[in-house]
């Protein structure tokens, strides 16, 4: 089956993406860079989960993906708000 060759390639690409985002997170240099990198890491993780779901033939990882999408957004909003205002719940 074609998928059997495609999925490892996809895993590799997404893993590399994960590493690149992580590298940016470590490197910075500025706080927005790191937040952006963290946000991207969240999205990369969604990609990994979707691939895993296809790979294992299990739909059970869907909610995790959904939640990552939600929580990643909230995290980014909170971190940005902190940079802008300091006080995030004012």
């Amino acid at each position: 089956m074609m998928l059997e060759t495609v999925i490892p390639i996809a895993f590799t690409l997404v893993s590399l993406a994960f590493l690149l985002s992580f590298w940016r997170l470590l490197k910075g240099p500025d706080a927005p860079d790191r937040i952006l990198a963290l946000d991207t890491l969240y999205v990369n993780t969604i990609a990994l989960l979707v691939l895993l779901g296809i790979h294992l033939g299990s739909a059970i990882y869907f909610e995790a993906a959904l939640l990552i999408a939600m929580m990643g957004f909230v995290g980014t909003v909170a971190l940005c708000k902190y940079l802008l205002r300091g006080d995030i719940i004012e």
């Binding site: 470590l26 910075g28 993780t45 989960l49 909610e63 939600m70 909230v74 909003v77 719940i89 004012e90």
Partner: protein
């Protein structure tokens, strides 16, 4: 029960006496007298028994399994002591009524006195050794109260603490001794112990037992080297001294020597320890007494000396010596009590006890002087007085013992010297106070005391005389039964008589009398020599130094360990865990790795794990740049969730993800009020130490995980998988465990969450923190508090998030999800509204108080549990059924879902409670000085 009531009466009396003092000063004295008489009355019906050779034993169960019962004993020895305690006690009650001044609290005094009397009586009437010890310690405690009666005086407080420390220490040693004794004999009952002398003496534990008991005896009876507390106890009011140091407190020690004489005496250890201490005390006391200028000081050292004499007698171990010992106990009690009372009268009338100022009182108070002189003569061992008789027996015994030994002259010589010193200080007491010219600078003009103050002295002095003149008619029967029951054996042959013919003892007495006079005449050069040498020794200084040393040592050790540093505490805990965790492996024999086959490693896992490890290290490395550390720890949390997904734990992943975000929001809230950066640490040693601990702890947990993961195991998990659907009605086994199999854990868990919320609310009350107006780089904050684009779009997300939350909540029983995750999603959705639109805006649209959510959530969870009672099942028993509705079709209803709803509400309530309250912190106006 009579003996028990006799002992109990003074204790109850103590309360009555205190109450009586409210009626008036004299009332408490009357009450105290009545209590003493009542105690006597309990004993009267049994008094004849010892004289008939019967020992009365009364026993009541208390802790029978431990051999500790309320057991009382009335035999000759006990009778003698009870008579001294109650008889002299009665006289003291009378005397004190006149001695105490208007300012002194009568009720308190008599109350303490009754406590003390009861304790003393308890000692002498005890049949059980542990019970005896209880009363023994009670005498220490009650004497503490009596000695410190004048609490405003420094000497009183110090003397009391010193007495308590020394006699209390002795008490602890005695406890050990008694326990050993009971261990050897198999019982704490005196009857058994006294009958087991040979068993005890031959037991390998004899020496430790004896040593511990003697420590108790010597401290209580002020034997060298523990004698020093007694003179300082003279700070007590004189009636107390008269009571404690004649008939009671200090006599408890020699009582015990007499009591245990049959069980312990007759060995070389006993002989050397007891007579050695006795002899040293006898000499030392007599010597020091001579040089005391304080009237009571003289009497105190004289008491020490006489107690040494009695101890020495018991140490000699012969039956006759024991008889003499018992006899001297009686005699010393009578003359010493009267002397103390006389001293009290003098102090009371003249306003001082300093013999350098007290001179020629004969002219002012001839009657009292006569009484005092007779008593002092008895103390000196002058013929026709009781002191002479027992001292004579004492001298005779020392001669008897020493006969035939090489160097045998030494003991008689030394005791004669002591006798001479005794004569000398008695002479000094008489001559210095009542004659020797005119008084020097007295505060007031002395005269005879009130009539009733003299009566107790008169009675005692008369006793000295009649016993001294006609011993056989007076004291003989009492002495006989007391001595016989001391020995627990037939009495030796002895005669109480004034005249035994010319024998060595008489010669020694005469030498002592003459020598004493000679010493007194030579007193001036002796005084001068003493002042230059031994007179400078002050036990109090030494004791204080020791005590201060103890406190200083305790302080420095405590400070060394407890520095108030959290880091040290954490360090200790981790170090302890490391030591304990590693210790079992040191024995060897257990391989670290097992033989279970593992999963193959894949590239994605390796990459994710590397990211996690690097992010962890980055968090550690960058922790001083706090915002950055927050972002890196976010990566850690993300990868941990990924691991949960990877290893088949979707519920965990969902939970971890939600918790992660809420935690980051919390940390951001906190970071706002905390410094953004921390200064680098300047202690490389500490960093290395912490690094080592961290490496060891990390290595330890890794090894532990590795050890477990490489081993196979059997688990109860199969049961959950098998019963989840049929028994719990849900196919998500994790959720069924949470809400059903282990719903009780979950009930606890949401309580923790509720508590966190409530605790935080409580903590934040009144807390005010100044909001920084600039960020750490000095920039002022962005002016746009609620960016419009964010505000608009996050509002769209709210219904969507709620929909997802409902979905997650409802499906939790069968698919990944459940109340906790749903609760967090809801909270996060609401928190975003706070983030995007502000607290005020949000509070206009929803209730700001989330207490009801928490309360009702907990209530729903708890009542779901309680509901099962109605059906006759244990708490938290779940039920479920499948319903089939038209259109909707078949669906499941489970009580566990109601429980999950409770979880949901608590989570939403607690999370909002925490975040919203924290978010509202800055709105309070900054308090002055709350933050630098």
């Amino acid at each position: 029960m009579t003996l028990f009531f006799a002992v109990l009466t003074p204790f109850i009396g103590a309360a009555l006496v205190a109450l009586a003092s409210r009626l008036g000063r004299s009332h408490s004295a009357w009450a105290a007298g009545a209590v003493t008489l009542a105690a006597i009355a309990w004993l009267v019906p049994s008094l004849h028994l010892p004289f008939e050779g019967t020992t009365l034993i009364q026993q009541h169960d208390w802790m029978p399994a431990l051999g500790l019962n309320l057991a009382f004993r009335l035999d000759g020895l006990a009778l003698l002591f009870a008579a001294l305690i109650l008889g002299i006690g009665l006289l003291i009650v009378l005397y004190a009524r006149y001695y105490l001044s208007e300012r002194d609290s009568m009720g308190r005094f008599y109350s303490y006195l009754m406590l003390f009397m009861g304790s003393m009586l308890g000692i002498v009437l005890s049949e059980n050794l542990i019970q005896l010890l209880i009363f023994w310690e009670l005498t220490s405690l009650s004497s503490f109260l009596l000695i410190s009666y004048w609490q405003h005086r420094e000497e009183g407080r110090q003397g009391a603490r010193m007495a308590l420390a020394v006699t209390g220490a002795g008490g602890f040693a005695l406890l050990g001794g008694f326990l050993l004794l009971g261990h050897i004999v198999g019982s704490y009952e005196l009857s058994v112990v006294l009958a087991s002398g040979d068993l005890i003496r031959e037991h390998p534990l004899y020496v430790p037992t004896l040593t511990l008991i003697l420590l108790g005896v010597f401290t209580k009876s002020a034997q060298f080297p523990f004698h020093f507390w007694l003179p300082h106890a003279m700070a007590a009011p004189t009636p107390v001294s008269a009571y404690l140091h004649s008939a009671t407190m200090v006599k408890a020690g020699v009582f015990l020597l007499a009591r245990l004489f049959p069980a312990l005496s007759g060995t070389p250890e006993w002989f050397w320890l007891v007579s050695g201490a006795g002899l040293a005390t006898l000499l030392l006391g007599a010597y020091v007494a001579l040089f005391k200028h304080d009237l009571k000081g003289l009497l105190a050292y004289s008491t020490i000396s006489h107690l040494g004499l009695i101890t020495l007698l018991f140490g000699l171990s012969t039956p006759l010596a024991a008889v003499a010992g018992v006899f001297h106990i009686i005699n010393h009690a009578t003359f010493k009590a009267s002397l103390f009372m006389a001293a009290g009268i003098i102090d009371h009338e003249a306003g001082t006890r300093d013999m350098r100022r007290l001179n020629g009182l004969w002219r002012f108070m001839p009657y009292t002087a006569t009484l005092a002189m007779v008593a002092a003569a008895a103390m000196a061992g002058v013929p026709l007085l009781n002191g002479f008789l027992s001292k004579e027996m004492f001298f005779a015994e020392t001669m008897e013992i020493s006969a035939g030994h090489a160097g045998g002259w030494l003991l008689p010589a030394l005791v004669t010297l002591a006798g001479a010193l005794g004569v000398a200080y008695s002479l000094r007491f008489i001559h210095d106070v009542f004659f020797n010219g005119r008084p020097v600078d007295l505060p007031r003009t002395p005269h005879e005391p009130p009539r009733w103050m003299k009566v107790p002295v008169e009675i005692l002095v008369v006793l000295c005389l009649v016993v001294g003149i006609a011993p056989t008619l007076t004291v003989a029967p009492l002495l006989a039964v007391a001595a016989a029951d001391t020995l627990q054996a037939p009495l030796p042959d002895y005669h109480l008589a004034l005249w035994h013919g010319v024998n060595p003892a008489l010669v020694m007495s005469l030498i002592a009398l003459g020598g004493g006079a000679l010493i007194y005449l030579m007193r001036r050069p002796l005084f001068a020599w003493h002042e230059r040498s031994l007179g400078r020794l002050d036990a109090r200084v030494v004791f204080n130094a020791l005590q201060n040393g103890l406190f200083a040592l305790a302080r420095s050790i405590t400070r060394l360990i407890d520095t108030g540093s959290l880091q040290r505490q954490v360090f200790f805990l981790l170090a302890a865990a490391l030591v304990l965790g590693v210790a079992p492996w040191l024995a060897g024999g257990t391989p670290l790795a097992g033989n279970r086959e593992g999963l193959p490693l894949d590239a994605v896992s390796l990459i994710a794990a590397s990211a996690l490890i690097i992010a962890t290290l980055a968090t550690v490395w960058l922790h001083r740049q706090r915002f950055v550390a927050l972002v890196t720890i976010g990566v850690v949390g993300l990868v941990v969730s990924l691991a949960f997904v990877k290893f088949s734990a979707p519920d965990l992943a969902l939970t971890q993800l939600s918790v992660e975000i809420v935690t980051i929001v919390l940390l951001l809230l906190a970071l706002y009020f905390l410094p953004q950066h921390a200064a680098p640490e300047h202690e490389p040693a500490r960093l290395w130490r912490d690094g080592m601990i961290a490496l060891l702890a990390g290595g330890g947990t890794a090894a532990l995980a590795w050890a477990v993961l490489t081993r196979p195991y059997d688990t109860i998990a199969g049961y959950f998988l098998a019963n989840s659907v049929p028994g719990g009605g849900g196919s998500n086994v994790v959720n069924v465990i949470l809400v059903d199999f282990r719903g009780y854990d979950t009930l606890g868990e949401i309580t923790v969450l509720a508590l966190a919320g409530l605790g935080i609310v409580a903590m934040l009350q009144g807390l005010q923190l100044a909001a920084p107006s600039r960020d750490d780089a000095g920039r002022s904050w962005d002016a746009d508090a609620y960016p419009a684009i964010m505000a608009t779009l996050t509002r769209i997300l709210l219904p969507l998030a709620l929909l997802v939350a409902v979905f997650i909540l409802l499906r939790g029983h069968n698919q990944p999800g459940g109340g906790f995750i749903a609760g967090l999603i809801t909270s996060v959705a609401l928190i975003v509204q706070y983030l995007a639109n502000g607290a005020v805006w949000t509070h206009q649209r929803m209730a700001s108080d989330s207490h009801p959510l928490v309360a009702w959530g907990l209530a729903i969870a708890a009542f779901t549990g309680l509901a099962s009672w109605l059906f006759g099942y244990p708490f938290l028993t779940s039920t479920f059924s499948h319903l089939n509705w038209p259109v909707v079709g078949e669906f499941e209803l489970a009580s566990a879902m109601a429980f999950d709803l409770g979880v949901f509400l608590v989570v939403v309530g607690a999370t909002l409670m925490i975040l919203v309250n924290l978010g509202g912190l800055h709105r309070a106006p900054p308090k002055k000085g709350s933050v630098h």
